[in-house]
């Protein structure tokens, strides 16, 4: 018991230790922050990639709920273009029908995710005797958020936001933990099932809408925008003042889904109604 430490000594030593620990803890991050600022992005390598111009392109998307007729051709086009499994459980984009009744009730349905349209009899009988005040279709897809929660939670850093504003997944990197599926407030992500044939040969990894990255990086429109028969989906460059998206954003009043979550989505909705989630 000769080594007994007095209370004063304990506080002194403890305080020194704490301060020293904090100092040491801060060293690596300090060093990193210095080295980080000195590392410039590699512009030459970026330019090689399809001659994409990082300075001008920043993609945006508009869904016009006043035009959408709920034909579901976008869902079909997306599945055929992107090898999304045909089963209605797996979707990069889908269409929801909102029905508001005179009593203030809200009904939402999406039979087969809208893949086969909304006209089959069994699905409409359910809504026959409603006193409808208003009803419309809402196309849904990945919002490619500016502040994406799915990216924040990924434990292996497999998903990230590109310079042109699209959230991509490195499917060779993804471990299929599904944390991002829980984190996404829009339900945009799904796990590729075992039996599916995918572009990269990976199954049991997470997949989601890329705004048809292979099409937009070649100057084409996403397949769903290309196929929409009524022009309810609009796509373009938010930094180009002449792009259809920018023109529409300046002409129409738009809204985003769940704005209070601070995810800053880049899919804007025309003809928004309170109650649409």
């Amino acid at each position: 018991m000769g080594n007994k430490i007095s209370r004063r000594q304990l506080i002194k030593d403890g305080g020194k230790t704490l301060l020293g620990g904090i100092f040491i803890l801060s060293v690596p991050s300090l060093l990193r922050s210095f080295t980080r600022t000195e590392e410039p992005p590699n512009p030459a390598a970026a330019a090689q990639l399809d001659q994409r111009d990082w300075e001008t392109r920043y993609w945006g998307f508009i869904c016009d709920t006043e035009k959408c007729i709920g034909c579901g051709r976008c869902v079909v086009a997306c599945k055929l273009e992107n090898k999304v499994p045909w089963e209605p459980e797996y979707n990069r984009t889908w269409v929801e029908r909102y029905i508001f009744t005179m009593d203030g009730e809200v009904f939402v349905d999406s039979p087969n995710a809208g893949r086969d349209g909304f006209t089959a009899e069994p699905m409409n009988l359910k809504y026959q005797n409603l006193d409808v005040s208003k009803s419309f279709f809402v196309p849904k897809l990945c919002n490619q958020c500016d502040n994406p929660p799915c990216v924040t939670v990924c434990p292996v850093n497999a998903t990230y936001r590109t310079e042109d504003g699209v959230v991509l997944i490195d499917q060779e990197h993804c471990i299929g933990c599904r944390y991002c599926i829980q984190a996404c407030p829009y339900g945009a992500r799904y796990v590729l099932p075992e039996a599916s044939s995918t572009h990269f040969g990976q199954v049991r990894v997470v997949d989601k809408c890329t705004w048809c990255y292979h099409r937009i990086s070649k100057g084409l429109l996403p397949a769903c925008v290309e196929i929409c028969p009524v022009g309810a989906r609009v796509f373009g460059d938010l930094r180009d003042p002449d792009s259809p998206v920018r023109k529409m954003l300046s002409e129409k009043r738009v809204y985003v889904l769940k704005p209070t979550l601070g995810t800053e989505p880049k899919v804007y909705y025309v003809g928004f109604e309170k109650g649409v989630q």
Binding site: G21, E66, G72, D116, G117, L220
Partner: protein, 239 residues
């Protein structure tokens, strides 16, 4: 003091190798550019409508002039790139169901969008037997090619009649339930006009022109000049 040194060294050694960001280390290292390149180089299936114009010029032209010009070719014909590569003929979906996915009546559709009751329109026959899918209004009833002045009674010429030297075309369909020729065959302005109905009873009012002649209580419009009471009810129904 010993404890302090121990903790100092331990925490130092423990913390130094652990970086604040893992993205540049080991499995966490991800090559964003390689991944973007992979996504960007995926095959394209939908070729967009102008690609079809190279070979199918006549259909393309009629499609461009018709009301379906906003509906891209691949909506009905399927993705075209496999056809452009010469690997397959495009699948053409001509079923009623495909037309119905857009045109079947649904409450949720915008009211201005053309919709029909699929149970009543056309029976079981395919929509494309009457409607040209590339130019859907091309198959619609023919419009009256002549002026309508003093020609209120279509059937006096277009009904059953004795052989003429140059006979006007006869009505090719049944007249049952079709008393208003112009609601289908008139020009757009007339089709859109709703003919006013007779708001009162007809008891003791066989002679319409007593009240509705020019100078009467409620005179007929100027373009009705020369018409007699006999013809009023063929357009203006009661109720």
């Amino acid at each position: 003091m010993l404890l302090a040194v121990f903790l100092f060294v331990f925490i130092g050694l423990r913390v130094m190798p652990v970086p604040a960001f893992l993205e540049d280390f080991g499995f966490h290292k991800r090559d964003a550019q390689k991944n973007e390149q992979q996504w960007a180089s995926l095959p394209i299936n939908y070729a967009s409508s102008p690609a079809c114009a190279q070979c199918h010029q006549s259909n393309y032209t009629s499609w461009q002039q018709g009301d379906h010009r906003t509906v891209s070719c691949e909506n009905c014909h399927g993705p075209a790139n496999i056809h452009l590569e010469g690997k397959a003929l495009p699948v053409v979906d001509t079923s009623r169901e495909l037309c119905g996915t857009c045109h079947a009546k649904l409450t949720a559709r915008p009211a201005s969008f053309p919709q029909v009751d699929m149970n009543e329109m056309g029976g079981d026959s395919k929509c494309i037997t009457c409607h040209n899918p590339h130019d859907p209004r091309a198959g619609m009833p023919p419009q009256v090619p002549h002026t309508l002045e003093n020609r209120a009674q279509c059937l006096s010429c277009h009904g059953q009649h004795e052989p003429w030297l140059r006979p006007p075309p006869q009505v090719p369909h049944t007249l049952e339930g079709r008393t208003q020729c112009l609601s289908c065959h008139g020009p757009e302005v007339i089709k859109a006009t709703v003919v006013p109905r007779v708001p009162h009873t007809l008891d003791g009012r066989a002679e319409c022109l007593v009240c509705h002649n020019s100078g009467g209580i409620k005179p007929f419009p100027e373009n009705h000049a020369g018409r007699t009471s006999a013809t009023c009810l063929s357009c203006h129904q009661q109720g």
